[in-house]
Each structure stands twice: as structure tokens, then as C-alpha cells.
Amino acid sequence: MQVRLNSAFRNPKSEIVEERVMSARPNESNPYRKIKSTSAYRRLMMAYYFVVKHSNWFGKKVAWITSGGPVEPLYAMGVLPFYPENYGAMCGASRMSVALCEVAEQKGYSRDLCSYALTDIGSSLTGKGPLGVLPKPDFLVCGNNICGTVIKWYELQARAFKVPVFFFDTPFVHDEIQEHTLKFVQDQMKGYISFLETQLNRPFPEKRFLEVCSRSFETITLWRKILDLPMHRPAPLAVFDAFIHMAPIVTLRGTRWAVRYYRKLKKEMEARVRKGVGAFAREEIRLIWDNIPIWYDIRNLSKILSSRGAVLVADTYTSAWALENLDLSQPLNGLAGAYATIHLNRGLDYKIQKMVRMVERYGADGFIMHSNRSCKPYSLGQYDLKREVTRLTGKPGLIIEADHTDSRSYAPQQVEKQIQMFLDIITGKD
């Protein structure tokens, strides 16, 4: 299968610039400290994928759910959640996404569609990918707080698998959430519970739900504290590490496993802070990242940055799972409020304030924004966001164009040059 980069839509750079960039780059090493908890992480995720793939052995039903969907009621009902987006990230990281997208495109799906969706469609059609044949969903849960694409994606999977889909509708929050919006989403939660009771033919277990919510709350609190630690210098955890270690909070939020794992990771990171050990030996430039990772190029990007002593210390994506406004005094309403106000469901002003606060709290020297071809809600407004954040913080930003899992829409040499030039600007070498 041939995968060719469409270089026609990339701006050609002059040779003079290339020479300058190449000579400006120092060739120093910057050792990376491996996180010990990673082996526990691997065992945990393997166990999760094993159980979910063989759910019938465990007598469990499987629901496919969007990343912003309320998972707590599922765990309360003993349903295993599977996350096609998380799987898409895995396919991207394993460099298997392009082949799966091409299968979907052969079937008539436009290449312009979100590559997570194309990857999922390709995987459903072929049974190929890092997990092979995926567990068939008993039903689907689709929340549009992350985007509207999921509605169409889940509709087609509902038709393909001949299963019902519950649509969790969260209206966009331009400034602050309105009372009627909150009430609307709270009613959706009630509808969700009824839907689950019908699907599973048993009543919703209130007590178990409270336990799951409290574990979810604890996991979120642990994750937030872990993500706060890189405020220290040097940062014990780099953003590229957080991209890996976020899998349990996405897929296992609400379980004891997630709580145990993040307690362990937090302990290790706190020990690093006490000893003054950073993720990298040299940390000279601290940066913020915006948007979904470029899943297939994490290691390479990390090396490009670290060889210049640049470390990503915080980002808007991993922090999105540190749900705000989680009020557990009334769990169902609390969840409604939290899920309705996640990062991607908020207006530009919120995003500007959030990034400005992040730059200030983490002492960042600049920020990098991934303009993600696949993700309009995350990428729309990035140019305005960049301008405003620079205006308000005085720190420079860089926008790089790519796709989160489709490497056909990525020009790595181009991006590397842009990053080098950007780092030159920050270090004052013009």
C-alpha cells in the first residue's frame, strides 16, 4: 500500500532558511529519565484491553462510548466501556492508522473526515489493527461535548452493528453555562439511566453508582495533582509522558484500578520533585502544548525539543480529564455539570483564559499548537487563540499543521524546521 505525502499543499521553504536552521542547532544530548510506574501502566492497560476484548468470558456487556461521555453509570451497571477514540490513538501510535483510513476511503468515506472515525470504520470492516477484531458493542453512548462528528460516526456504527445509540446532548457553552442548559443536561442524565435500565433489564444501582463516582472523583483529583507537579523546576513529568499515562483516566475512570495506578504514579513524581529530578536532565525552555497529540510522532518530537533543552510542561488535552465543577453532593447532577463544561465545549474566551493561566502558572517560555486537520472544534480559533495568548502573556507561540493519527497529512521535516526556528526565537538567537 503506497502512502505518499501530498507536498503540494505545503509551503515550500527557501534553501537559505534551511541552511540557517541546520547550523543553529546544537548537537547536545539530554538524557530522559524513564518512569518506573510505566511497567505497572502497561500491565494495567493490557489487563483492561484483555477483559474488554473477551467481555463475554466475564459475562459483561460492552458499550462503545465517546471520550467525553459519562462513563460512571456504565461502570455502576457493570458494563465495560470501550473507547474508539482511545483505540484510534493506539492505531496512530502504532502507525496502523493510515492503512485503516484507506480501507474506509475505499468504501466511500471521504478522506476529509476525522481520522479517528476513518480508523474505527476501517478497523470494523477489516478486523485489523493492534487489537484485531474489536468487541462488538451491545449499545453505543455518544456525547457531543467533544464535537459533532461523533454523532455521525456513532449513527453509522449503530446501523452497522444494529444496536441502539444513546445520544447525550450537551449544548455549547459560549461564556458561562446557563441554568436552562444545565437543567437540559441533567434531564439527559436521567434519560441515560433509563436507557441503561432498559438495555440491561435491571434497576440502576444507586449505592454502587455512589462508589463509582467517588472513585472517579478521587482519580480526577489524583490526575490533577499529578499534572500540577510539572509547575516545579525541573518538571518531573513531561507532557509526552502524560499523553501515555492518561490512558487509565480515559478508559478506567471509576474503577479501583485507576485509583491505585495514579496513587503510584503520583508518589513516584512527588519523589522526583523532592530530589529535584526532572523528566529530562536539561530543562532550559519550558513550553505548553495545545490540541490532541500527533500520536505517530511523539518520540521524534520529544527528541527534537529535548535536544535543545526544551520540555513541554503542560497542555490543554491531558488537563481536560481533570474535570472541573465536579460536585458530588448530588452525583447525577454533578456529573451533568462536569461533562457539560469540558474544555472542548467552551467558547474561545474560556480557552484563552485557560492557556494564559497555564503559561503563567507553569512559567512557560512559549507554546506550541497542533493545528489538527481532523479536529475542527479543537483547531478552529487557534490563530486567534495564539494571538491573544501572546498579547496577554508576551510569550511566543508556534502553530504546526498535522493530523492526530493520519500521517499522510504531516510533513515532519517542515515541522522540525519550524520548531527549530521557534526555539531560536525563544533563546534570542536571530
Partner: protein, 138 residues
């Protein structure tokens, strides 16, 4: 699905007749008939909840296929031309299942991905002509 007036002329010049349409600002709005026997605000609200207008609105997983099949059969059309705007993901996500549903009923389909204004009218003409020729009984 798109707006330019030239598409109708191209299709008719090729020898076909457009017997119905589902354009974004076309006949699909006939689905939004308003009840006149209840409070007007109630009636206006109700029509949005009861009709399938556009794939950007979720009305269940099967509404689009069912609506399209019904309207195409009622119109007696022999073929369906999908004029989809580039980047309109709502239509592009639905397209493959709509195509197979129509073809399983013996209705031929053609997909034209267009931009507005269109930059390749010549190419569109050729493809529409070929499609019409294919549908024309010998």
C-alpha cells in the same frame, strides 16, 4: 445538496430531468410543514422535532436513509446525483450507507464533490453526461 443554479442546467442539457431535490435550500424544506391547529410557537418547535431536515441534526440512526428512500421512490427517479460540498462531514458520513441503500433498490447514484463557486464545471459536465447516458434506455 448545494446551491449553484448551474447544476440544474448541466443535468438538463445532458438530457435528464430533475424530478425532485434534497438541496440545503431546496425542496427539503417542504418536510417542515407547520401545524396550524395549535399554538404557533408550539407548532414551530414541534416541526423541528418531528421532521428529518438535515444530517446535522440527530433524529436517530436511520432517519436519513428512510427519508431519502421514501422521497426518491415517490418521485420515480431512476438515479440520484449526490452534490456534496467538500468538507461537509454531515453529508459525507451518511453518503456510503445512502448509496448502498439506493443501489439495493436498483437506483443508480453518482457522487460529485463540489466547492462553491465550482472550479471544474467542465469535469462535472462530463461526469453528469456519462451518468445520464448510463441511465438512458437503449
Amino acid at each position: 445538496m448545494t446551491h449553484s443554479a448551474s447544476y440544474f442546467s448541466i443535468i438538463e442539457e445532458a438530457g435528464a430531468r430533475v424530478v425532485y431535490d434534497d438541496l440545503c435550500s431546496g425542496a427539503r424544506f417542504l418536510r417542515l410543514m407547520v401545524r396550524e391547529d395549535i399554538d404557533p410557537i408550539e407548532a414551530l418547535t414541534e416541526r423541528y422535532f418531528t421532521s428529518f431536515l438535515c444530517p446535522t441534526k440527530h433524529k436517530g440512526a436511520h432517519a436519513h436513509v428512510e427519508t431519502l428512500l421514501k422521497e426518491v421512490e415517490k418521485s420515480g427517479a431512476k438515479g440520484v446525483i449526490f452534490l456534496l460540498y467538500k468538507y461537509c462531514e454531515a453529508h459525507f458520513f451518511d453518503y456510503p450507507d445512502l448509496k448502498s441503500a439506493l443501489e439495493s433498490k436498483g437506483i443508480q447514484t453518482l457522487l460529485l464533490e463540489v466547492e462553491d463557486p465550482s472550479y471544474s464545471i467542465g469535469q462535472l459536465k462530463i461526469r453528469i453526461q456519462a451518468f445520464v447516458e448510463m441511465l438512458t434506455p437503449i
